[in-house]
C-alpha cells in the first residue's frame, strides 16, 4: 500500500518515537512491526521493552492520570503493548534480561467487580511487570498460595464495595501470620478506599487509579530493591 509506513527508512530514535505514538493510538500491528524492526537492528529485547514500549506506556499512563485519555484508549494501548510483548517475552527469558518484577493481583473475597483491577493489571504489564491476575472473589488462602507459587514483589488488592474492602486487612494479617508480609509490597485500590484506610490495614500504599498504581509500584519496588542491596 502506498500509505504504508516503511519503518526501515526511519533511524532508530525516530522509530522509537513512532512506536510510542503507535502505542498511544493503540495500533497493535504497527507495534509488532516496530518491535521486529528494532530486533532486526540488533537492539536487545530488554532495550526494546524499556525504550519503546514501557516508555510509550508511561506517556499513556500520564495522560490517563490527567484525564486526557480514558479507559477505552488505555485498553487499546495495553492491547498493542501486549502484542509487542508476545514477541519479546520468550526473547527476554532467553537473554536473561533483568526482571522488573512479578505482581499478584486480585479482587478480594465477596467482591466481583473487576474492570478497575483488570485495568491496573494491564497498566502494570505495560510497565513491564509480569502480572498474575487472580480474578475476582479471592480469599486469603488464594492470595497466600499465589504468593508462595509466584514469589511476587507486589501483591495488589482491589475492592469496589465498602463492605468488601475490610477483607483486604484480613489478607494482610494472613500474610503476616504466614511470615510473608516483609517479602511483598502490598498495594490496595478501589473506589471507596483512601490513604487512611490503607494505613489502618497496614498496606504499603493506596493507589487512586491505574496510573498512580503503576507509579507507586515502580517507586516502591526501587526503594525495596535499594534497601535489599544496601542491607
Amino acid at each position: 500500500m502506498s500509505d504504508e509506513f516503511d519503518l526501515s527508512k526511519l533511524d532508530t530514535p525516530e522509530l522509537i518515537g513512532q512506536m510510542q505514538d503507535d502505542l498511544y493510538d493503540g495500533l497493535a500491528d504497527e507495534i509488532v512491526a516496530g518491535v521486529n524492526e528494532l530486533l532486526h537492528r540488533d537492539m536487545t529485547p530488554y532495550d526494546v521493552l524499556t525504550q519503546a514500549l514501557v516508555a510509550g506506556m508511561d506517556i499513556v499512563g500520564a495522560d490517563f492520570r490527567d484525564g486526557i485519555l480514558f479507559v477505552p484508549e488505555v485498553l487499546m494501548a495495553a492491547k498493542a503493548m501486549k502484542a509487542g510483548m508476545q514477541i519479546l517475552r520468550p526473547l527476554l527469558a532467553e537473554t536473561g534480561a533483568p526482571q522488573i518484577g512479578t505482581v499478584v493481583i486480585g479482587t478480594v473475597k465477596g467482591d466481583i467487580h473487576d474492570i478497575g483491577k483488570n485495568l491496573v493489571a494491564m497498566m502494570l504489564e505495560g510497565a513491564g511487570f509480569k502480572v498474575v491476575n487472580l480474578g475476582i472473589n479471592n480469599d486469603a488462602d488464594k492470595f497466600l498460595a499465589a504468593v508462595r507459587e509466584h514469589k511476587p514483589i507486589i501483591v495488589g488488592m482491589s475492592a469496589l464495595l465498602t463492605t468488601t474492602m475490610p477483607y483486604m486487612g484480613v489478607v494482610i494479617k494472613a500474610l503476616k501470620e504466614a511470615g510473608m508480609r516483609q517479602d511483598v509490597i502490598v498495594l490496595v485500590g478501589g473506589a471507596p478506599l483512601n490513604a487512611a484506610f490503607a494505613e489502618e490495614i497496614e498496606a504499603d500504599a493506596y493507589c487512586r487509579d491505574a496510573a498512580v498504581a503503576v507509579q507507586t509500584a515502580k517507586s516502591l519496588v526501587a526503594i525495596k530493591r535499594g534497601a535489599a542491596e544496601a542491607g
Binding site: 484525564g67 480514558f70 485498553l75 487499546m76 465477596g110 466481583i112 467487580h113 474492570i115 484506610f197
Partner: protein, 302 residues
C-alpha cells in the same frame, strides 16, 4: 394520545422526587459481603419493602425496584442467572406493594444497572448479547408491573444503547429514564462527557436523562449544568451519592449529611433537573430534608 404515567406526573410541572440508595441501606440491614441484593427480593422481602416505605414516607414520588444487579451478567457472578425473571419480577412487585401500602400515587421504576462488563472491542461482551440480557431483565420488570424503566450507572454509550434497545424491543411504549455516572475527571469511566451523552440520547427514545452515583453533589450539579446548556428542553435527572465514602473508625460513612443533600436538591432544581433523588450513602433522613427543601417546587402526585 394518552400520556404515560411519567408524562402525566411531569405535566403537573415542578420536580419529581425520586428515592435514595438501596444498596447501602441493605448493607446496614445486614446484607452480607458480596451477596446478591436481588436475592433478598425473595429471601427478605420485608426488608426490601421497609426501605421503599422509608423513602415513600420521606416524600419520594418515584421509587426504584431492588433490581440494579438483576441482569444475567451480574446475577451470573452469584450463579443466579437462571433466576433473572423471578428476581426482577418480584423486585418490582415489592416496590408496588410498598406504594400501595403508602396509599398509592408514586411511580415504580424497574431498575436496570450496568452489565459489569465491557463491550467489544474493549471487552468480551457482544452488543447482541448485551441487548438480549437487558431485554430479558426488562421483560421481567415490565411483567412485574413497572411504570417506568430506569437504566442507571452506565459508563459506555454502546452499553446504554444496548440497554435501551433491549427495553424498547420488549415494550416500545414504556418510558425510559437513562442516567450515566460521570465520576472520572468530569466524564464517565469510558470518557463520555455530559454534553456528549445528552446529544447521543437525542436519537434514542428516552423520556429523561442525567447523572447518578459518582463523587457527590458538586459533580452532579456540574453534569446537570452542562447538559442543560446543550439540551435546555430535556427532562434532566440528578441522583447524587451522599458525598464521598470515608473510612472512619472501622466503618464507612458518606460525607454529605441531610442538610447538604437538601441544598443539593434545590441547586439541582435551579440548574434544570426535573427528577431529583439520591444514590449511595443516602437514607430516608436525607430524602426527608431534600423533599422539605424542595417544597413547592415538587410536582403534586395527585
Amino acid at each position: 394520545m394518552t400520556m404515560d404515567p411519567l408524562q402525566t406526573l411531569l405535566s403537573r410541572s415542578g420536580v419529581i422526587m425520586a428515592d435514595g440508595a438501596m444498596g447501602t441501606m441493605l448493607m446496614d440491614l445486614g446484607l452480607e459481603h458480596g451477596a446478591s441484593p436481588e436475592l433478598w427480593n425473595v429471601d427478605q422481602p420485608d426488608r426490601i419493602r421497609s426501605v421503599h416505605r422509608g423513602y415513600l414516607e420521606a416524600g419520594a414520588q418515584l421509587i426504584l425496584s431492588n433490581t440494579f444487579g438483576g441482569n444475567r451478567f451480574r446475577l451470573g457472578l452469584h450463579n443466579l442467572q437462571d433466576r433473572a425473571a423471578e428476581l426482577n419480577r418480584v423486585g418490582v412487585e415489592l416496590a408496588r406493594q410498598a406504594v400501595d401500602e403508602a396509599g398509592g400515587g408514586a411511580l415504580v421504576a424497574g431498575d436496570i444497572g450496568p452489565s459489569g462488563e465491557l463491550l467489544e472491542p474493549f471487552g468480551n461482551l457482544t452488543f447482541a448479547e448485551a441487548v438480549a440480557g437487558f431485554a430479558e431483565q426488562a421483560q421481567a420488570l415490565i411483567r412485574g408491573g413497572a411504570d417506568v424503566i430506569w437504566i442507571e450507572t452506565i459508563s459506555a454509550l454502546d452499553e446504554l444503547r444496548a440497554a435501551i434497545e433491549g427495553v424498547k424491543g420488549i415494550s416500545p411504549q414504556i418510558p425510559v429514564i437513562a442516567t450515566m455516572t460521570f465520576d472520572t475527571h468530569g466524564r464517565t469511566m469510558m470518557g463520555v462527557a455530559p454534553e456528549e451523552a445528552i446529544k447521543a440520547l437525542e436519537d434514542l427514545d428516552v423520556a429523561a436523562a442525567g447523572g447518578n452515583c459518582g463523587n457527590g453533589p458538586d459533580e452532579i450539579l456540574s453534569v446537570i449544568a452542562k447538559m442543560h446548556s446543550v439540551a435546555p428542553d430535556r427532562v434532566l435527572v440528578a441522583k447524587s451519592n451522599a458525598g464521598i465514602p470515608k473510612w472512619m473508625n472501622g466503618k464507612t460513612t458518606y460525607d454529605a449529611g441531610p442538610d447538604q443533600m437538601a441544598r443539593y436538591a434545590v441547586q439541582a432544581a435551579e440548574a434544570g433537573a426535573r427528577i431529583i433523588g439520591a444514590c449511595c450513602g443516602s437514607t430516608p433522613a436525607h430524602l426527608n430534608r431534600m423533599s422539605a427543601a424542595l417544597g413547592d417546587r415538587m410536582a403534586r402526585s395527585k
